[in-house]
């Protein structure tokens, strides 16, 4: 049987068009977001591995006259010491990205595990952990990072540890919140009734179901980590010169800005911003994907 369709208003229903357009627009935007994020993150990771190898000049020694504006020989120009800006910009991820990724992964693992324990075994221990992370999160990140680096000494390992220390509470909090909802679900009780010990339930059942928030957070944290590393280097609490590092480059060339030497700070600045945006976009796109699937 065919049913006579009598549309309520002439032509198409306005709601439907709107809905279709909206859905398509959203889908396109999200795919765009995912693709953009993935490309930027991919380039950043590639440069972290091979940046120095493909750089046209050695990024740590003077290779030409100082303060040359961008040209065909020096694509991004040279700085006051005659270092090639392009080579330095593409070599910097080896420090910036490696540092941020290591710190994010370490704090992700540590935070997720502590969060799992704090959420699963509620009690004095859990309360203590949460108060400690409250205190850590209450401090301005940047100041705390400076203090930590100042206390432990300015080297790469210490920077990684300082960043890890700062970001772990975020993962603790996220994982714990998810664990708290997961542990109330019946499959946890079913696992207990099947004869699992508490630790087995936590690791076999609850952990895999509580990972999503941490995985989403991971990418954003890398972005923040890059920003923080650059910031620390900018104020002199991070990477030592003459290592190629974005924050350091901006710091060294900022005074030259008033003399019209814009290229030495602009290019590393763009690099930092793009990378941070890229990691954030990737994280955002993954989050939407997870939420809609």
């Amino acid at each position: 049987m065919t049913i006579p369709q009598s549309p309520p208003v002439k032509g198409e229903h306005p709601l439907e068009n709107l809905a279709d357009k909206k859905i398509k627009a959203r889908r396109w935007y999200h795919d765009k977001l995912l693709v953009t994020g993935a490309i930027i993150v991919g380039i950043a990771l590639f440069l972290a591995a091979f940046g120095e190898a493909i750089a046209p000049y050695d990024p740590t020694v003077p290779v030409g006259p100082p303060s040359v504006p961008p040209s065909t020989t020096y694509w991004f120009g040279t700085d006051t010491s005659g270092l090639d800006v392009f080579s330095r910009v593409i070599s910097a991820p080896r420090i910036d990205v490696t540092l941020a990724v290591s710190a994010a992964v370490l704090s992700g693992i540590l935070g997720t595990f502590i969060g799992l324990m704090a959420g699963f075994y509620r009690g004095v221990f859990s309360g203590f952990i949460m108060r400690v992370s409250d205190v850590l999160q209450a401090f301005p990140v940047f100041i705390l990072a400076m203090v930590l680096v100042a206390l432990s000494g300015r080297n790469l390992t210490n920077l990684i540890f300082a960043l890890t220390f700062l970001y772990t509470p975020i993962f603790i909090r996220l994982t714990r919140a998810e664990v708290l909802t997961q542990r109330e679900r019946a499959y946890v009780e079913a696992a207990r009734a099947a004869g699992n010990s508490d630790l087995k339930i936590a690791i076999k059942h609850v952990l895999p179901n509580s990972l999503t928030p941490s995985l989403i957070q991971l990418s954003v944290t890398v972005g923040f980590g890059i920003l923080l590393t650059a910031g620390l280097s900018f104020v002199g609490a991070g990477v030592r010169p003459p290592n190629p590092e974005w924050g350091l480059m901006i710091a060294n060339s900022a005074p030259q800005l008033v003399l019209g030497e814009w290229w030495t700070s602009l290019f590393p600045g763009i690099a930092v911003s793009l990378t941070v945006v890229g990691f954030a976009a990737l994280s955002n796109a993954i989050e939407r994907r997870v939420a809609t699937s």
Binding site: Y187, G195, N209
Partner: protein, 603 residues
């Protein structure tokens, strides 16, 4: 013939999706007349809710309603939004499935009801308030003056649902659309609610469209039945005709399943032995609340399940029946009392010892989806207990999983599926297979059928019956569904407010219920028989109000506040579980002394 209120022609609801549009309701033609209660049934996903909303020219985003809806001479689908809003609420009331989520948590109930009234009728705030009190009183809420000041979180589900119905009725609509209004309510509350709704419709001539999955509700309250299948109306018949002679395949299937159940004998008495398998003695469990008060979930529960027999534990939500199950499984530790498994005292075991022992006592929970790890495949879920308790090789485990899948009636190709890819019925079969994997001696079945749609429920019951006979299972079946208990269990224990109030062989308790609570429970059962309707019966033993909070328990009989037979002695004297016949125990002095008025209502 009554006055026609609403008529649709080719009513269609579509949702645009990525793969093109999905038609939830497909060209439905229906009529609703004044004073008529029409039941709308159909499988989950058949478009019932979409149709119900569609009648108000509403669809969930991004759905779209088309066709024609003639409501008292007006075409709703061409009406401007403003006019439509006036009709919704004033002329067509809507009650949705989740009562608490439909109320605004920031406003008290009186304000919300008053607002609906004032949105459609010119009245002052004070008048609206008075109107709200009157309405709450009409739907049977005690102490309405106090209740209108209550916020939604302070109300029970039943009360919230009744507040919603008064809201829906506040502007005296000509049509009330109720979408599964009683799902999730207890049977006694459900009966109270439907009785009220039926009365209101009778008095005011309101037409009611009642969306439901429960044939009992249809048989007892509806004048006409509509059956929806895949968005198409496949049946439209008066209730009696529908039950006597359904024409479409779905109705036939549902009714024949229901018919088989009605004819099913009460679980046979001879089965099983007289060797006790599980014996609870003086079990007690209290919970300390944050404000220092103590909640008694289980007080002084003693019962025995014989080897090869099944015991039904019946009661409304909040009666403590689930807690008893969890105590047996030691998912909770009892405050007092012993649990004997054959000659072993389970409460005396250490947690570690008991972990080994768990292979002998297994469980199936109420919500099948929630009780399966969403990331695990069916095979992994079923073989988990085997990993924990046996030293089977991979091949042996695979073999055992195949055996179990076969036993619970699942085909082998679900092995690799995730729970989200299975229907609720299939999920529950997986849970059952998991529980059976280690060949346990005893099962705790905690409402395993109540979260399932009707057809799956009936199939599950048949499966349990079959397994009980084939494997000689012993189990405790926790449920609020009396007809299921009658079919599955040889013995029954009725719980009310943490106590067992009546216990005995199922046949005896169901034929001659002694305790007023058991009587009321049985009276609330809606049988699938339109010739024997609850609304035509007189309810001698109907209970007032709802199950009280188990925090401050009364001094005397716990039921005294709701019991129509209560007198002073009931309120003063704590009641003991006493033997009336060798195997029949009752916790009511009047019944024991044989002076309880009113004959048994169910034969």
């Amino acid at each position: 013939m009554n006055e026609r209120i609403l008529a649709t022609k080719g009513l269609t609801v579509t949702y645009p999706t990525v793969q093109g549009s999905f038609t939830a309701v497909n060209g439905v033609n229906l009529e609703l007349n004044s004073g008529e209660i029409v039941g709308l049934i159909g499988e989950s996903g058949s478009g019932k809710t979409s149709l119900a909303l569609g009648l108000l020219a509403l669809a969930r985003y991004p759905g779209r309603v088309s066709g024609s809806i003639d409501f008292m001479g007006q075409e709703l689908l061409t009406l401007p939004e403003e006019k439509l809003r006036e009709i919704r609420g004033r002329s067509i009331g809507l009650i949705t499935q989740k009562p608490r989520q439909s109320l605004n948590p920031f406003q008290n109930v009186g304000t919300q009801i008053g607002r609906v009234y004032r949105a459609h009728v010119d009245a002052s705030k004070a008048q609206a308030q008075d109107h709200a009190i009157e309405l709450l009183e009409n739907v049977g809420i005690n102490d309405p003056q106090r209740r209108i000041k209550a916020y939604p979180h302070e109300l029970s589900g039943g009360m919230a649902q009744r507040a919603l119905i008064s809201m829906a009725l506040s502007a005296q609509p000509q049509l009330l659309v109720a979408d599964e209004p009683t799902s999730g309510l207890d049977v006694t509350i459900q009966a109270q609610f439907l009785d009220r709704m039926w009365q209101r419709a009778e008095e005011t001539g309101t037409a009611v469209l009642l969306v439901t999955q429960d044939l009992g509700i249809v048989a007892n309250y509806c004048d006409r039945v509509l059956v929806l299948e895949n968005g198409k109306l496949v049946e439209d018949a008066p209730t009696r005709e529908f039950f006597a002679n359904p024409t479409d395949a779905y109705s036939k299937k549902v009714l024949s399943l229901a018919g088989e159940r009605a004819q099913a004998e009460t679980a046979s008495q001879e089965a099983g032995s007289q060797t006790p398998l599980i014996r609870l003695e003086g079990l007690r469990k209290t919970f300390k609340l944050d404000d220092g008060k103590v909640l008694s979930a289980v007080s002084d529960v003693s019962l025995t399940v014989m080897q090869g027999r099944s015991l039904g534990l019946v009661g409304e939500s909040g009666s403590g029946k689930t807690t008893v199950g969890r105590l047996i499984l030691r998912l909770l530790e009892a405050d007092e009392g012993d649990i004997w498994f054959r000659d072993t005292d389970l409460t005396a075991m250490s947690t570690r010892e008991f972990r080994e022992f768990r292979s002998k006592i297994q469980v199936v929970f109420q919500d099948p989806f929630d009780s399966l790890n969403p990331r695990w495949s069916v095979e992994k879920a079923i073989s988990e207990p085997l990993d924990l308790h046996t030293k089977m090789s991979k091949a042996e485990k695979a073999q055992r999983v195949s055996e179990l899948l076969d036993q619970v009636g699942l085909s082998a190709d679900v092995r690799g599926s995730r729970p989200s890819g299975l229907s609720a019925g299939q999920q529950q079969r997986v849970c059952l297979a998991r529980a059976l994997s280690t060949e346990p001696d005893f099962l705790v079945l905690d409402e395993p059928t109540s979260a399932l749609p009707p057809v799956a429920r009936v199939e599950m019951i048949a499966l349990l019956k079959d397994l009980r006979e084939r494997l000689g299972l012993s189990f405790i079946f926790i449920s609020h569904d009396l007809s299921t208990v009658r079919e599955l269990c040889q013995d029954v224990a009725v719980m009310y407010l943490s106590q067992i109030v009546e216990m005995g062989p199922t046949s005896k308790v169901f034929a001659h219920p002694e305790h007023p609570y058991t009587r009321a429970l049985l009276d609330s059962v809606l049988f699938h028989d339109p010739l024997d309707r609850r609304v035509d019966r007189e309810h001698l033993g109907a209970l007032e109000g709802e199950i009280p909070s188990p925090i401050d328990l009364p001094k005397g009989c716990y039921l005294a506040g709701r019991c129509p037979f209560a007198e002073d002695r009931c309120r003063e004297e704590p009641q003991l579980l006493q033997i009336t016949e060798p195997d029949h125990l009752v916790r009511c002095w009047k019944s024991v002394e044989g002076i309880l008025s009113g004959a048994s209502v169910v034969g």
